[in-house]
């Protein structure tokens, strides 16, 4: 499903948390959203998910209004609730669930838990898991209904290195294989540069750059937006690698 935002704006009273952003996310591509703290990344994702009032135009396949087929994963907040992992992931298929849970729903949940390597967690209570395990469970929830739009807010922030790579590879597989339009907020610039097909760089609510990772993340952008002096290297398979050297001047978060 193609997502088109034009002059998308979100106001929190006088503050424009998202300021007239034009953006396109197409099926089969991962759009990484990067930027410093407070630059409006999470708010942009909430705006696209239909969770905050917006100004401007937001179209899904050319039509306004939030479609049902969105998988949304907000930033991790530990819920204190007596729900097990299998129940939490089932909720990802909320729109399709009847009072009795069908075999098809259980199979879909089982498949996504297997794919993320957390089938063994199925009977555990969500409140008993580590931050990284919880993140994988909520990613499974977002994937459980095979949505045509995936909106992920920092999906790998609590994961160890191996799980980060596994999740990013899974997202590429899902996005490219099923033709999903995936938008992921990422703090790790190397992960963003390595796995996203396109990047959007935000700064104080505005879109500073939008394009291929190599075009978005250069020395000038890192200095101006992040206040960081960095060296950019082209690694194996043409991947952009950012090596931070030090801070430049005074920078306000």
């Amino acid at each position: 499903m193609k997502i088109e935002a034009q002059a998308l704006t979100v106001r929190y009273r006088a503050l424009r948390a998202v300021d007239r952003i034009d953006l396109v996310a197409v099926p089969g591509e991962i759009l990484g959203v990067v930027g410093p703290n407070g630059s409006g990344k999470s708010t942009l994702l909430k705006a696209i998910a239909g969770l905050v009032p917006v100004e401007g135009s937001l179209l899904f396949d050319g039509k306004p209004g939030r479609p049902r087929a969105i998988g949304y994963m907000p930033q991790d907040i530990a819920p204190r609730t007596a729900l097990t992992v299998v129940e939490v992931v089932l909720l990802g298929r909320l729109g399709r669930l009847g009072f009795r849970v069908g075999r098809e729903d259980l199979d879909a949940v089982g498949a996504v838990l297997e794919e993320l390597g957390i089938a063994v967690l199925a009977p555990r209570f969500i409140g008993e898991l580590s931050g990284g395990q919880r993140q994988l469970v909520f990613l499974a929830q977002a994937l459980a209904a095979s949505p045509s739009v995936l909106l992920l807010d920092e999906p790998i922030s609590a994961l160890d290195l191996r799980h980060q790579l596994e999740v990013l590879e899974l997202l590429r597989r899902v996005t490219h294989g099923r033709g999903t339009a995936t938008i992921a907020v990422l703090h790790d610039l190397n992960a963003a540069a390595g796995f996203a097909d396109m990047l959007a760089l935000l700064d104080r609510g505005c879109l500073r750059r939008h394009g291929a990772p190599a075009d978005v993340l250069d020395v000038d952008a890192l200095r101006e937006v992040y206040g960081v002096h960095a060296v950019i290297e082209r690694g194996a398979a043409g991947r952009t690698m950012i090596v931070p050297i030090g801070t430049v001047g005074r920078h306000q978060a």
């Binding site: 998910a49 969770l51 049902r68 969105i70 949304y72 994963m73 907000p74 907040i77 819920p79 204190r80 609730t81 007596a82 729900l83 097990t84 992992v85 299998v86 129940e87 939490v88 992931v89 089932l90 909720l91 990802g92 909320l94 729109g95 669930l97 009072f99 849970v101 075999r103 259980l106 199979d107 949940v109 089982g110 498949a111 838990l113 297997e114 089938a119 063994v120 199925a122 009977p123 209570f125 409140g127 008993e128 909520f138």
Partner: protein, 345 residues
């Protein structure tokens, strides 16, 4: 694919079913004991035969069908209504202390009842219905006020809880004022009403309570999955496509009806709405398909057991049920929350 998640879900479902069946069995026993106990103890076998219309003893039939069965069934239905409303309240307010008793709804009903006792019927109704009608209306007013005041700041769980506590103090103050100006006879009547008593039960009143509870059930069945999603927090629920504001509003209407009709006919009964959902949550978790029926069943079981206790603790004496539920409820509640190792809240 391994059978892990499906097997895990199967075990959960089996556990849930077992708990519900056991609660139903306990409920049947408590209900029969409730009918059997009273000034004259009737053998449980005779009670069972009479209830099943197999008895030949007209005296037993008269005691059971005219006096005790309406009381026992009212305990079950009112207990179920209080347990259900407590569970819904705790779920939509994301707060373990939420119940109609702690958030001013019961206090509103108490004020409504006291108003009629002191000032006379506000509508041309006999007193036996004017008092419950006023209690029901003021419970609904309290519920609406909690939602409207909390709604001024976005109807978040925190704001709604604070609004409920403010309402509790308001209605308690108004109730004290009425008690202050009441005649000694009216004051005695108010105090007795506030104790809570099942002895006002009749077949007609039971029918009204049962119909209201039955009318709420289809809405609850429709909302079980959205309510379960709400336990993951507002943002996640909205991300899953739940219209959280509409769900809260709908739930408040249900709480208002369930609590209003329950306390209207039996007075303010505390702790059932608080304890029953906790007991259900500990035994079968937060999937509302299990939690809501279990909360209703445990509410019915607790009130029915309290009814038996109110007649048997001191032989020959009948304690007001509200006092018994509080006395038994407090230590039971402390045992529940201190003995439960999993931190769900």
């Amino acid at each position: 694919m391994s059978d892990g998640p499906a097997a895990a879900y199967g075990r959960l479902a089996a556990r849930r079913a077992a708990v519900l069946v056991l609660a139903l069995a306990g409920l049947s026993v408590a209900g029969l004991l409730d009918v059997a106990t009273g000034p004259a103890f009737l053998p449980v076998g005779d009670v069972a035969r009479s209830v099943l219309r197999l008895s030949q003893d007209r005296t037993v039939d008269a005691i059971v069908w005219t006096i005790r069965l309406p009381v026992a069934l009212t305990a079950l239905v009112v207990g179920a209504a209080l347990g259900l409303s407590g569970a819904i309240m705790q779920t939509i307010l994301n707060n373990p202390l939420a119940s109609s008793y702690t958030l001013g709804v019961s206090a509103g009903a108490g004020f409504g009842a006291a108003l009629v006792i002191v000032a006379g019927p506000l509508l041309p109704l006999p007193e036996s219905f004017a008092i419950p009608a006023s209690a029901f209306v003021f419970a609904a007013i309290a519920c609406a006020a909690v939602y409207l005041i909390g709604g001024l700041r976005g109807a978040t769980p925190e704001m709604l809880v604070l609004a409920g506590i403010a309402l509790l103090f308001l209605f308690q103050a108004l109730l004290s004022l009425l008690q202050y100006v009441a005649s000694p006879e009216a004051l005695q009547q108010i105090v007795f009403w506030l104790f809570g008593s099942l002895q006002k039960a009749s077949w007609g009143k039971l029918l009204i309570v049962a119909l209201v509870v039955a009318a709420c059930l289809p809405v609850l069945v429709r909302d079980v999955w959205p309510l379960t999603a709400l336990r993951l927090g507002d943002e996640r629920a909205r991300g899953l496509g739940v219209d959280v504001r509409a769900l809260r509003l709908r739930s408040f209407v249900l709480i208002s009806a369930l609590t209003g009709v329950a306390v209207a006919f039996v007075g303010t009964i505390g702790f059932i709405g608080l304890v029953a959902p906790h007991l259900a949550r500990i035994l079968i978790g937060e999937d509302q398909r299990g939690l809501l029926p279990a909360s209703g069943l445990f509410g019915a079981l607790l009130l029915s057991t309290a009814s038996v206790a109110s007649k048997t603790v001191v032989p020959g004496a009948l304690f007001p049920i509200g006092i018994v539920t509080a006395l038994v409820g407090v230590p039971f509640f402390l045992w529940l929350i201190l003995g439960n190792r999993r931190a769900f809240w």
